[in-house]
Amino acid sequence: MKIKGKVWKFGSDMDTDRIIPARYLNTTDPRELAQHCMEDEDPEFAKKVRAGDMIVAEKNFGCGSSREHAPIAIKACGVSCVIARSFARIFYRNAFNTGLLILECPELVDVTETADVLEVDPSTGTIRNITKDRTFRAQPIPPFMQELISAGGLMEWIKRKGLV
């Protein structure tokens, strides 16, 4: 199923403290975390973002802490997909584990700006920038990660494998 959304563009090395500041980590409630998503970068972000919107960012998105609160906050504020030039390792893993769709596609990042509209086909990794009328192909998702996605995340995978 293809998804469509409006872009919020961010820069390089968007660390987890900017995605969700540590002062809010005294809760695990996704709705509460969502209210403070990106707060130190753009205090209005949580208010402005609409369900289905997408984040596009430069290199090393999600660097820093291992807090899973970061992908949880992004997902809970309605973001459907994050596309970056590259992701920091722990964030990459956490996104798959928590069911947040992420794609690496440097060429798309080059041409995309805030307010552009994208159409993403998660099954093929095809991304169309409708505003700019350009189509790109994201880096393929490693097979093991695909297995996790189709199982519905790590904890579903573990149940399916009968490991509990």
Binding site: N26, T28, K59, E68, M155
Partner: protein, 426 residues
């Protein structure tokens, strides 16, 4: 018999835990976990996940370690509630290594000190600085809470075997230069994503002469270059440290001489000055003399990077008989109860008190902007911590400079960034 491929220490540790003779970079393996670690921020999420799938026990009650260090002593009702959730879980599931109150220390200082992690281990922690234990020759990596839940239940986790980058340091260190400066130098060279997805291996005669405290500080910041793990091969120094306290039998593994590295870099360590990382990334490193004179509102000596006894010793040496400048505040945070006690025994705490410092209980506290020393808008701190991201220690418009404990102590005396030589004549 077929000869196995030469391997780096990271590959060897993963191979032994995956029950394989050899592994190679890129391969996905399922490895046994020796220690699964969570804290007061990340464990609650993991416990929720674990309960959701209906798990009734953990893989090993002694190998799950839960450390309530970030907001301790609980800073507000919400953090107290989080701790309560973890405490109740620990009781119900019979977790042996649950730490809070007077037993708690900052996790990455506490676990090596208690011999809970040993050389040759595979450790996963729902905390990015889990890579610290590489200083003992363990493969230790930060994961998220869902991965932690998986590890707590199954005692296993999947890994992609990382490529290893080698960093060789040769030569004698200048005075006041420590493991912290070597890693700041490295991050300054390769950048905050220079080792993304990779393992970093540190070697050379300079590393051999480093104390264990300095090695732990060095590996602590491997994540600041994006690395999956940072490792130092165990030697006599490691063996002496680990053997005296190990709760399990360590395995002292070394890289094969002909192991393959994706990249190798050599540095002349005798040329490295005490460094400072400027806001807002750890890669913004400069010699301290370049930024000397910058006014500082607060100095923090502590954290999982530099809150160990060696760090307090050097700070005490500089602060003895001196006063913290009236234009700044100094907060000293012994990383564990043991470090606290040792600092008391050696008389350091009296030195800090006489100098006008605040001595905090062991906690992460201000390092992540939690509590115990938060910055106001426009304030500038110099800290021995590991991150200087925007808003890390408080207001989004505050700043953090990173440095070693000697630079921090000298800066506290001057009220502005200072090279230790400015303060201590010899």
């Amino acid at each position: 018999m077929a000869k196995r491929r030469p391997m780096t220490i990271a590959e060897k540790i993963l191979a032994t835990h995956a029950g394989k003779k050899e592994v190679e970079p890129g391969e996905i393996v399922e490895a046994k976990i020796d220690i699964a670690l969570g804290n007061d921020i990340t464990a609650p999420l993991a416990i929720n996940e674990l309960r959701k799938v209906g798990a009734k026990k953990v893989f090993n009650r002694k190998r799950v370690v839960l450390v309530m260090d970030h907001f301790t002593p609980n800073k507000d009702i919400k953090s107290a509630t989080q701790c309560k959730l973890v405490r109740e879980f620990a009781r119900e599931f019979g977790i042996v290594n649950y730490f809070e109150g007077g037993d708690v220390g900052i996790e990455h200082a506490l676990l090596p000190e208690l011999g809970l992690v040993v050389s040759g281990d595979v450790v996963v922690g729902a905390d990015s600085h889990t890579c610290t234990y590489g200083g003992l020759g363990a493969f230790a990596t930060g994961v998220g809470s869902t991965d932690l839940a998986f590890a707590m239940i199954t005692g296993k986790l999947w890994f992609r075997v990382p490529q290893t980058m080698k960093f060789v340091f040769r030569g004698r260190l200048k005075k006041w230069v420590s493991g912290k400066d070597l890693i700041l130098h490295t991050i300054g060279e390769i950048g905050v994503d220079g080792a993304n997805y990779r393992a970093m291996e540190f070697s050379g005669d300079t590393i051999r002469r480093l104390s264990v405290d300095s090695r732990l500080a060095l590996c602590n910041m491997a994540i600041e270059a994006g690395a999956k793990a940072g490792l130092i091969e165990p030697d006599e120094t490691t063996e002496e440290y680990v053997s005296g306290r190990a709760q399990r039998r360590p395995r002292f593994l070394r890289s094969d001489a002909d192991a393959e590295y994706v990249e190798a870099r050599e540095y002349d360590a005798s040329k490295i000055d005490p460094l400072v990382a400027l806001p807002h990334l750890p890669e913004n490193t400069r010699p301290v003399t370049d930024v000397a004179g910058t006014p500082i509102d607060q100095v923090v000596i502590g954290s999982c990077t530099n809150g160990r006894i060696e760090d307090l010793a050097i700070a005490a040496r500089i602060l003895r008989g001196r006063r913290v400048s009236s234009s700044t505040r100094l907060i000293v945070i012994p990383a564990t109860p043991h470090v606290y006690e040792e600092a008391l025994r050696r008389g350091y705490l009296r030195v800090f008190l006489s100098a006008g410092a605040v001595i905090s209980p062991p906690t992460c506290g201000p390092c992540l902007g939690g509590h115990m020393g938060i910055l106001a808008e426009g304030e500038r701190a110099l800290a021995t911590t590991n991150r200087n991201f925007i808003g890390r220690m408080g207001h989004p418009k505050s700043e953090v400079y990173l440095a070693n404990p000697a630079v921090a102590a000298a800066t506290a005396v001057r009220g502005r960034i200072a090279h230790p030589d400015e303060v201590v004549r010899h």
